[in-house]
């Protein structure tokens, strides 16, 4: 970026070493980075003056973080919005400093920056010690497999540079890292603000004989070559150009040579590498880890994207149930039974979470049993697939076992470093729900609208079914694929084993929600007309249905409903023939903030139908959806 010198000053042809800088907010990350760039003469001419001017304009002293915060919103709000990469030169060795924001949605931004780092600098305020984010960041370093961790004990001036106090701080951080199987390569006592032990040795800590930060960075090992490991070549694509078939992919480890026999994927088809094709290079007879190649095979078999090419004597692990670590990136918690696609290099497998084996508590870093994984949480889970998955268990510093979970809409929701095959526990229900090969987007495109669930709740007689049926007809006439699930219809068939006890009513709601989910996932608009009187039951439905759930309150006062009494139920309840009737001797808990509130005491069916139909169309129709977003 323009803030630092173009590191072109480097003579070296070595790749830059990425270093991620993490730590609790206010422990001094930005100051450290500013100081480091300044003290090592990595700033462009005029940059310091520009930072002073920019700081002054906002009434600040010298805000080093402005070096990193290149966006105006970041400067104005004093927060880093997204991770930044800063090239940095140290004695002709090139580094890239990755700075990740310590604020909201931290995890997905940090992982974006840090996943390919060779080393990390964990900044800890020596006076304050490890805090919540220190633990969170350290946990993530462990999960993404960063082995070289330098702990910078910052602000040691606050401890008067006292050896005993600083060593006590070091001990407590060291104990924390041990719990995570992380071992710090080094602890450096420093004051980033004053430059002590950053690029020059502190004169205020004569007792410290270890390296300064710049000396420590110079010792970070270069990435190890993966060319000598057994071959893994995941197929990225297959091209047919000029009547020749090319199998394209990047060699993740090992090497291929012309004449080698490789095994292709789970079908275990053997084939010989007959050539390594390229354009504008010298002819190649072999290629190694890191190279993107295109090979031709003999016989001319046709592999698929995701097939793994390997040698017969060094096969990967094959399993359909896999234990994995997890860092969870979705805002909603993860629960058992959810289905995803597991991306593994170029392969993609439909998987289901069959168990949440443990969840990490960030306060004490211990693993506990848990029902769900919270947003930005860490866990160990078991995934099941209907097919066999070929993989290598996660090894830090390699591409092995780098699983990523994506949802139905192909959004990345979690990172899953694969641990190994999972055994089937005694008495465990082994189910393998399969994911669809038809994506939500395909369905949306074909139908011209999205699927969605509109949950009509209200007293008996408030007009839910009448409204739902009229709206169904109106939407259908408009080309919308729409279905109604109403209480009585469900109870006539699917739910005829259920009565009206609270437990049975909850089960009734659960079944309605599950059916609605299946229909919604098939791209339909579903109108559910169900009294569903309890807030907790509707919360259950929302949980099952997720974000595409709209609560519609069909609101008529009890007197009006009782007067309408289309099914004679109020009369029966009043005379004691039926009990537990909503509104009479069972509660109705009105929605707190429904997506739509229809008052049906006075309004005509026609006008309420119009309101509901247009609300639904705005929600699911593409033009409406586009409008809403822009």
């Amino acid at each position: 970026m323009t803030n630092t010198l173009s590191p072109s000053a480097a003579q070296s042809q070595e790749p830059a070493t990425p270093i991620v800088i993490v730590g609790h907010v206010d422990h001094g990350k930005s100051t450290l980075i500013g100081r480091l760039l300044h003290d090592t003469d990595n700033l462009q001419d005029g940059k310091v003056a520009q930072i002073i001017a920019s700081s002054k304009k906002r009434g600040l002293k010298v805000e080093w973080s402005f070096l990193l915060d290149s966006l105006q919103i970041e400067r104005d709000q004093g927060v880093t919005v997204d991770s930044t990469r800063i090239p940095f030169l140290l004695n002709k060795r090139e580094f890239v400093i990755v700075d990740a924001p310590g604020h909201r949605q931290f995890l997905r931004n940090m992982i974006t920056g840090a996943a390919d780092a060779e080393a990390a600098v964990l900044v800890v305020d020596a006076a304050e010690g490890a805090r919540e984010q220190t633990r969170r960041h350290a946990m993530l370093l462990h999960l993404i497999g960063i082995r070289h961790v330098i702990v910078l004990l910052n602000k040691v001036d606050l401890l008067d540079f006292d050896q005993a106090k600083i060593e006590a701080a070091e001990k407590s951080v060291s104990e924390l890292l041990t719990k995570l199987d992380l071992e710090a390569a080094l602890f450096i006592p420093a004051s980033a603000r004053d430059g002590d032990n950053i690029a020059s040795r502190s004169e205020r800590m004569p007792w410290y004989s270890g390296p300064t930060l710049t000396e420590a960075l110079a010792q970070v090992p270069s990435p190890a070559s993966r060319a000598e490991l057994p071959l893994r070549l995941p197929v990225q694509d297959v091209y047919r150009f000029d009547d020749k078939r090319y199998v394209a992919g990047r060699i993740e480890r090992g090497r291929v040579r012309v004449g080698d026999t490789v095994i292709i994927g789970t079908q275990k088809t053997p084939a010989k590498i007959s050539s390594i094709a390229s354009w504008h290079t010298a002819p190649q007879i072999s290629a190694a880890a890191g190279q993107s190649v295109a090979v031709t095979l003999e016989p001319d078999v046709i592999p698929d994207r995701g097939d793994l090419l390997h040698k017969s004597e060094t096969p990967p692990v094959a399993a359909s149930r896999i234990r994995t670590r997890l860092f969870w990136l979705r805002q909603e918690p993860l629960r058992v039974g959810e289905s995803f696609h597991l991306r593994l290099a170029t392969a993609e497998h439909a998987v289901t979470v069959t168990s949440i084996d443990s969840v990490v508590n960030l306060d004490d870093l211990q693993k506990y049993a848990g029902e769900e994984v919270p947003a930005e949480g860490f866990a160990e889970i078991t995934l099941s697939a209907a097919e066999t998955i070929l993989f290598d268990p996660f090894v830090p510093g390699t591409a092995d076992g780098r699983g990523v979970l994506v949802d139905r809409q192909q959004r990345i929701v979690g990172g899953a470093p694969l641990l190994g095959p999972a055994a089937i526990a005694d008495g465990e229900k082994v189910i393998h729900p399969t994911g669809s090969n038809v994506t939500t987007q395909d369905r949306t495109r074909a139908k011209g609208h999205r699927g969605g669930v509109f949950w009509l709740t209200g007293l008996s007689g408030s007009g839910k079914s009448t409204l739902a049926r009229a709206t169904e007809a109106a939407l259908f006439a408009d080309g919308v694929d729409v279905t109604v699930l109403d209480g009585d219809t469900l109870r006539a068939g699917l739910c005829k084993d259920l009565g009206f006890s609270e437990v049975d009513r909850t089960e009734n709601v659960r079944r309605a929600a599950e059916v609605a989910r299946i229909l919604r996932d098939a791209g339909q608009v579903v109108l559910v007309a169900l009294i569903s009187p309890l807030l907790s039951d509707r919360a259950l439905a929302r949980q099952i249905l997720g974000e595409e759930f709209a609560e519609v309150f069909v609101d008529a006062d009890l007197a009006t409903c009782e007067q309408r009494d289309p099914k004679g139920l109020y009369a029966a309840a009043r005379s004691g023939k039926i009990s537990g009737f909503t509104g009479i001797d069972a509660p109705y808990e009105a929605p707190v903030s429904p997506a739509l509130h229809l008052k049906t005491s006075a309004g005509s069916v026609e006008s309420e139908t119009k309101t509901l139909a247009s609300f639904i169309k705005d929600t699911v129709r593409l033009s409406g959806a586009l409008k809403a977003r822009s």
């Binding site: 001419d45 290149s70 694509d237 993107s292």
Partner: protein
């Protein structure tokens, strides 16, 4: 593998992902050094061909040398060239500073091309080291229906797994050169012998370090008249590549505003 080999392999991987996952797909060709490298990398990825259209969104204000270069190499490289035009500056946001307002024409021209060809993927040659806001980009950067870049809400991107459009009307900007630096581009041009417009080389003590529209791009002081001299110059420079681009310097946020609206 040396550094350039690694960058090349990574860019080829990215281009192949884009070709596999985003259809229809097109590459932006601004006729500058970076986009020539990008076309070259596509030919590496697809064994001598570029299997998708190459788009030049023409402001009508490029240097004559650039138009000549375009017509010559579109033929030599057998490119499926798509030309787009840009609306007049009067139609652009008047609250932008003058040079940024002029640059915004390209955003509008590009948006029209994306609509017209219903593109799911647009490959662009931006690099992180060029400009602070570009340092925050993803390799696959999703854009909503209005083409806006939502900086606050970028998807996670790690372990070479990239975002794909998950809503109707979205497209992805693909950035295969994101990790390249200016010096890498020049060293690769030298290594591979990639042709360039000669405006990059010094005449009468000046050369263009970055090429945009004639009226908003200024040459820098330089005597570097060969590839080797340009590389030697960059090895010691302490000023930024885009110092000759007027819109970057008009106000603190002019370039950020352009990019949020869909500029490259």
């Amino acid at each position: 593998m040396d550094h350039l080999d690694q960058l090349e392999a990574q860019s080829v991987f990215i281009l192949r992902e884009a070709y596999r996952k985003l259809k229809p797909l097109a590459m932006l060709w601004s006729l500058g050094k970076d986009s020539n490298v990008m076309v070259w990398l596509a030919k590496k990825a697809f064994l001598g061909r570029v299997p998708f259209p190459v788009m030049h969104v023409d402001t009508g204000k490029k240097f004559p040398e650039m138009y000549k270069f375009r017509d010559e190499y579109a033929k030599k490289w057998d490119l499926d060239l798509l030309l787009g035009t840009c609306p007049p500056v009067e139609e652009m946001d008047p609250s932008l500073p003058p040079a940024a307002r002029s640059a915004a024409r390209k955003t509008a021209g590009l948006a029209a091309m994306i609509e017209k060809h219903k593109l799911q993927g647009v490959i662009a040659g931006i690099r992180r080291d060029e400009q602070g806001t570009r340092a925050k980009e993803r390799v696959f950067s999703p854009r909503g229906a209005s083409h806006k870049w939502d900086i606050r809400n970028q998807p996670p991107e790690f372990w070479d797994q990239y975002a794909t459009p998950h809503e109707e009307g979205m497209h992805i900007r693909v950035h295969p050169l994101l990790s390249w630096r200016e010096i890498d581009i020049w060293r690769y041009i030298e290594r591979e012998g990639i042709p360039l417009v000669d405006l990059y080389f010094a005449k009468n003590g000046k050369r263009y370090r970055s090429l945009g529209d004639q009226d908003i791009t200024n040459p820098v002081e330089s005597n570097a008249s060969t590839l080797a001299e340009v590389i030697a110059e960059l090895e010691t420079t302490r000023t930024s590549e885009r110092s000759g681009r007027a819109m970057d310097h008009e106000s603190e946020d002019a370039f950020e505003r352009l990019r949020v609206a869909g500029y490259l």
